[in-house]
Amino acid sequence: MIRFEHVTKRYEGGRDALRNVSLEIPKGELVFLTGPSGAGKSTFLKMLALIERPTRGQLFVNGANIGRMPERQIPRYRRQVGLVFQDNKLLPERSAFDNVALPLIIAGMSERDAGRRVRASLDQVGLLKKEKSPPRMLSLGEQQRVGIARAIVTRPGLLVADEPTGNLDPELSLDIMKLFRRFNDIGVTMVIATHDVNLLDQLGGKRLTLSNGEIQGGDFGGES
């Protein structure tokens, strides 16, 4: 599903965010990406969302060499990846329903067809009753769940989450992580960055630990 081949990311100014990373994540895997801040977790995820490209090396997702993907194919690629952010990135003026519907509208689905999918998605995160509420009327935990509903509404094969519980207390965090677990159970490949190691002990899944831009340990070894 995901294959890094000697991927290096060097930012302007010469700092290496990732150094010669090679690994393969099989389809349907749940991977928790851990490591101290500045270790390269965000860069790793940004590459999967094609927000950043490798400076050297190759990156394959679902067989496509996305590191070399032309600019105008990026939108189509992104539609196949669900993204969840620490700050949820919901549109503040829109209702929960509209926020969740957005990826479908972008993908070209009519509003009528989208409606069913949106409600199913909101139902899965337990927020069907709050579909009309804008984000500011929702708690942080609820906002994050709307963000997750938006990420899964297109039924992506890959879901990428960057510190999705970073702003939440431990109890809510566990709820959110359990939600991810459920989607993984139906076959979605997931890469979730988190610094909350205590939480991971309760969840299982594979771990990938980065340090200083290199694979330090976890279930994918240190084969850099």
Binding site: I51, N62, P75, I106, G157
Partner: protein
């Protein structure tokens, strides 16, 4: 990757895509209009600027059109006035008139006697008392000569010269020069209107472009989210283009209101003026074509301004 379930048949799918495409446009048009109405003050300023910028060249071109029609209707009037020397008798006037009437060039000669002229003058000028105080009539007899339509300008000039040499005649006034001058001035005016029109349309493009640029900047976060969710540049652009089109259309309507109001304000004085000239001049030009060009100009300029803004700024916004 999980793809969307394919529609049952290709034809149905493409029909759906087409109807979705139009649905999306309708939705974009609707939501951008809402957005404009949502912030009435800022939008009103933009719309006012656009309206004025569109109304100005339209008003100037109306002015030129009407001026030309005035000049056009005057061109046929080639009457000239022959003022006799003071102290000439009415018989001498009759003789000259008879002489002129026999010429092939002349259609009609009318005599205004000095007495009639004085009466007219007294009534029209309002100097009744002053005129009454005069011992004798200072006005000469006058012949108003109307040439035949077929008469050419240079033969009329020759005739005028001949009359000037006649000892009975004091002055000959041939009133075609001012029409030629008016036409020259109008031509100059017409070109100025073109220049003003181009500049003012450019102003509309710039104003709309700037408004949309600010709009894009204030919605940067939203655009980033769209792009993260896989929106193409085209998808992000479209609502902004509609905002531009709406600005142009509403601004154009406002411009038309300005034009109509100006025309109404001018209608009274124009009627009076034409009354004085004894003509039946009507203000024309504010027709479907003019109105249509104001609206079309507004829409095009609005769209162009929006396009100049989105093409520069939207692809530059990339999620970080």
């Amino acid at each position: 990757m999980v793809k969307f379930k394919a529609a049952t048949s290709g034809a149905k799918a493409s029909m759906q895509r087409i109807s979705h495409y139009f649905g999306l446009h309708r939705e974009n048009a609707r939501s951008s209009l809402q957005e404009i109405l949502h912030q009435p003050l800022a939008s009103l300023l933009t719309i006012a600027v656009i309206g004025i910028a569109l109304a100005l060249p339209a008003a100037l071109s109306l002015l030129v059109q009407n001026g030309r029609s005035v000049a056009g209707s005057m061109e046929d009037v080639r009457d000239f006035s022959v003022y006799l020397q003071p102290g000439m008798s009415m018989d001498q006037a009759e003789d000259l008139a008879k002489n002129l009437r026999m010429r092939a060039l002349i259609a009609e000669v009318r005599i205004i006697s000095a007495e009639d002229a004085l009466v007219d003058f007294r009534e029209a000028s309002g100097f009744e008392n002053a005129v009454g105080a005069l011992d004798n009539n200072p006005l000469p007899h006058t012949l108003v000569v109307r040439p035949k339509i077929t008469a050419e300008a240079h033969t009329l000039d020759t005739l005028a010269g001949e009359l000037r040499d006649n000892p009975v005649v004091d002055q000959v006034r041939l009133d075609t020069e001012w029409v030629k001058r008016l036409n020259a001035i109008l031509e100059l005016f017409k070109r100025s209107v073109w220049i003003a029109g181009v500049l003012l349309i450019a102003a509309v493009v710039i104003v709309v472009g700037n408004t949309i640029r600010l709009d894009i900047q204030s919605r940067r976060d939203e655009i980033e989210v769209y792009k993260l969710l896989g929106a193409s540049n085209g998808f992000v652009r479209r609502p902004f283009l509609y905002v531009g089109i709406w600005y142009g259309l509403i601004g154009g309507c406002f411009g038309l209101v300005l034009l109509v109001v100006s025309a109404l304000i001018l209608a009274g004085p124009i009627e009076k003026l034409t009354g004085l000239y004894g003509g039946n001049f009507v203000l024309h030009g504010l027709n479907i074509v003019t109105m249509g060009s104001v609206l079309a100009g507004g829409i095009l300029a609005g769209w162009g301004g929006a396009w100049s803004a989105v093409s520069r700024h939207i692809s530059a916004i990339q999620p970080q």
